[in-house]
Symmetry: D2
Subunit: 295 residues, 4 copies
Amino acid sequence: MKVGLIGLGNMGRGVAQNLLNAGHELVVYNRTRAKAEPFQAKGARIAGTPQEAARGAEAVLSLLADDPAVEEAVLGREGLLSGLERGAIHISSSTISVALSERLTAEHARAGQGYVSAPVFGRPEAAEAKQLWVIAAGVKADVERIRPVLEAMGRGLTVLGEKASSANVVKLSGNFLIASMVEALGEAFALARKSGVEAKTFLEVFQSVFSKSPVFERYASLIADRQFQPGGFALRLGLKDVGLVLEAAGDAQVPMPLASLVKDHLLSGVARGHGELDWSALGALAAERAGLEKL
Amino acid sequence: MKVGLIGLGNMGRGVAQNLLNAGHELVVYNRTRAKAEPFQAKGARIAGTPQEAARGAEAVLSLLADDPAVEEAVLGREGLLSGLERGAIHISSSTISVALSERLTAEHARAGQGYVSAPVFGRPEAAEAKQLWVIAAGVKADVERIRPVLEAMGRGLTVLGEKASSANVVKLSGNFLIASMVEALGEAFALARKSGVEAKTFLEVFQSVFSKSPVFERYASLIADRQFQPGGFALRLGLKDVGLVLEAAGDAQVPMPLASLVKDHLLSGVARGHGELDWSALGALAAERAGLEKL
Amino acid sequence: MKVGLIGLGNMGRGVAQNLLNAGHELVVYNRTRAKAEPFQAKGARIAGTPQEAARGAEAVLSLLADDPAVEEAVLGREGLLSGLERGAIHISSSTISVALSERLTAEHARAGQGYVSAPVFGRPEAAEAKQLWVIAAGVKADVERIRPVLEAMGRGLTVLGEKASSANVVKLSGNFLIASMVEALGEAFALARKSGVEAKTFLEVFQSVFSKSPVFERYASLIADRQFQPGGFALRLGLKDVGLVLEAAGDAQVPMPLASLVKDHLLSGVARGHGELDWSALGALAAERAGLEKL
Amino acid sequence: MKVGLIGLGNMGRGVAQNLLNAGHELVVYNRTRAKAEPFQAKGARIAGTPQEAARGAEAVLSLLADDPAVEEAVLGREGLLSGLERGAIHISSSTISVALSERLTAEHARAGQGYVSAPVFGRPEAAEAKQLWVIAAGVKADVERIRPVLEAMGRGLTVLGEKASSANVVKLSGNFLIASMVEALGEAFALARKSGVEAKTFLEVFQSVFSKSPVFERYASLIADRQFQPGGFALRLGLKDVGLVLEAAGDAQVPMPLASLVKDHLLSGVARGHGELDWSALGALAAERAGLEKL
């Protein structure tokens, strides 16, 4: 396919290489032109503006840092919207706000163009090694038409429904899960180290116990299915354990705000009479706070 | 080996069966005797008190609900401490406090007995299916002597150092990681659902993206090695993304306290000039708050 | 003075009455005209648009619910900006964002008009009883010119500097302080009640101990002056006490997330070696997290 | 009265002086005897142990740093419990745990002695200036008998019911309120300063607006009476304002975890359909999380 690519940052460079490898005809644009030059040698054409990169392309993929960068590259003077032909498709792979994604959906529709939201999971190394995972949402026919591009980007593709911005919700939620885990790991390592367990040792246990076991996947299933009974591991026991964590943390002088937060939620569950449910019912409490079903 | 087993709850029953399967000679004790009876048919002997279960055993394993239960079963009148012979070993697999584990270390030492702390990871199904992971710590010779028991309990064993209570720190930290992840999942599902993404769909993405990829393991390594540069994914971008999560959550009316907490930590990192570090530097901030190295 | 007033909600009605009482000549505008009519009988003129309310006025005061309402009333078609004469002044008393306040500063300057940000503290009863407290910021000459209007609104006036949006920062910070106190009171009442102390009794103590004593004022001074030594009440004792609060709360099954948060900050202070400072050093920790001076 | 006094720290010294001034006959004990000596010159007798200080006294008042210190001084060998006569009263003014207060109630009752829990509010300067506020609870006759001692300590006395530990709940809750306010002030000052408002200026506003107005008292009344309607200041407006605070804080790079926490509670209130209630309904949400009435 004839594809425009806007943005050759850490992520974009890996994607560009893989699109070339897959045989796509590539026109690249990058604000700092120097980063585009290596791709010229590999057969890509360099455009001077996003508009030019979009002109004549069947699809133009943008992979930029944030909302302002995408707004400028798409809606700005010489933005891709003004270059893209009717019927051609904008593939938006940047991590942007749900609000901007909804606005782009409307703007492209008004211009008779397609808009597929297709954010990716994976770090720069994964982009380079074609190991990204793509989450796509948009009008079905559009998604199917650009499927070869999406498949050339990574190791997997999940297609959501027709509401483009739902892919952004999922991408942002995924980054939130990672950030939470990083925070949790940070607190856990601090506790381990101040309790005399070496970071290296703690890492080995983590690798053995968690990374070879589908523990998080199982809890995700329990929450998705709202299956809180029978309580394989009761909420009141979770409260006890997180209480012990905080006790140990207090003794070792390690602030653990995430543990404190989780403890208060468990305590509320118990105070309200749900101590015998599985502790995955933390998910039910979160839903209830959001105005979804009452526990 | 001749092994006593105190506690036949959800977890203990699975372990008892696997110890029998491995050919160990078992004496079981449970407060409610009825739960012990099925094991008599399978060749175990039933003891009337923890003391009796310990008498003559090379090792006695306790697997109980909490600190008070363990205190009573070990230190109480007719507790196992008074029945265990000099040189025999108490294997403590309950999830108890670091403080109690230290006290038991001292009490058993005073009685000339061994004490190995060996908490397990896994839910009741895992106990039954011999899929637990055991974390053991204690005097090296003691750990080696009871290794056949530990190996009969699950699919893996990690031996930490000689300080028994370090196994409790690790176990509690592990439960904290799970609780954090459950909380994070709960908030993420609430956001997805209120944004029009079905729970089932979100689960599929989670399964595809996270469970087949060592994403958490990689972040654990970065934190363990304090390798925050180069910033594969910069802290300031993490701040942007978690900010977008909260924006979407505000629009969908979904409270996400864990996201709020993480955002404030990322914001502090950026405010203090560390925005270009990898966002695994959240771990460095946690360490600093605990009085460890300054970032 | 000849004054336009935009917005006759709960707050605006009280202000309108007091401006009339002070002898100002009033032109009022309200989206729902019915709310304006009572003031016609009292001598005010009713305008059909914000633009009309501004026309010919020396000052026009807006008192609306939020950013969108203010944007429309000021910058919209038939907004007050298009009606206000050069040299006349817009007094913005709504609780709006710092960003919008900065934008209004620029827009009015461009139109050769004055802009004074003058948010108020006080609930509707206070507005009616002329008990509001006004915080004003803007070009000095402008503030002086409209002083009679500001003084007619309430019991007191504090004039900040020339940067109009600083009044919005202060107003928002004040509302944050109130919200924090309400949250804290909510948690404290829950604890008291579940511990068998009646809400009425707890209220009496609160009234006796806190409302007749300048306790909060004193802490505000200590933080403003960064006077953390000598430690009249040491941070480590604060940690002890908040720890005891959480212990009691755990026993009574009362989640206290604000107590948890404060405890973690105190714990970090102690972990980093500042346990002997006065516990007002919580303020120094907050400053440090914001990238201000290190503790 | 003949009074023993255990503990001559920052607080105890002020109290000792005021008891002497009021004409009580004093026997003092302090672990470091040197601190007791100045009082000998003023007419007090020095005891070598808490037991000795209690012997022959009608009441013995303890004012120590924490639980362990009180446990040792009361229940230890040579503790005051063993010296106090039947019918004499222990006045416990230290800030201790609810659990220890309940234990002391039982121990003294068993010994035929009275136990009045009488913690105090006020910093060392207040102790010296006889400006403490005393909160007392215990058997009514006991409280009445020692009223002259309690009144000699400060500027006011509130007598709660007969359950001694309720005074500790109230004292701890009071310290929690102060800690919360200090945290809130810390965050607010950080925001003000990073937004260009000088600390001194912000302090002046705080002094004008809050310290001369019963704002906190009014919110405490609303929560105590569960009077959330009509919504003088609606919860959804509170959400808007705290949202604006966080927006300003994000722009100024100021982490405000307390603001984040409050925002999530307000957001939950709105998500669950309570946006029109007064924002004092934050107190109702806290009660609900504790298993009290549903909102």
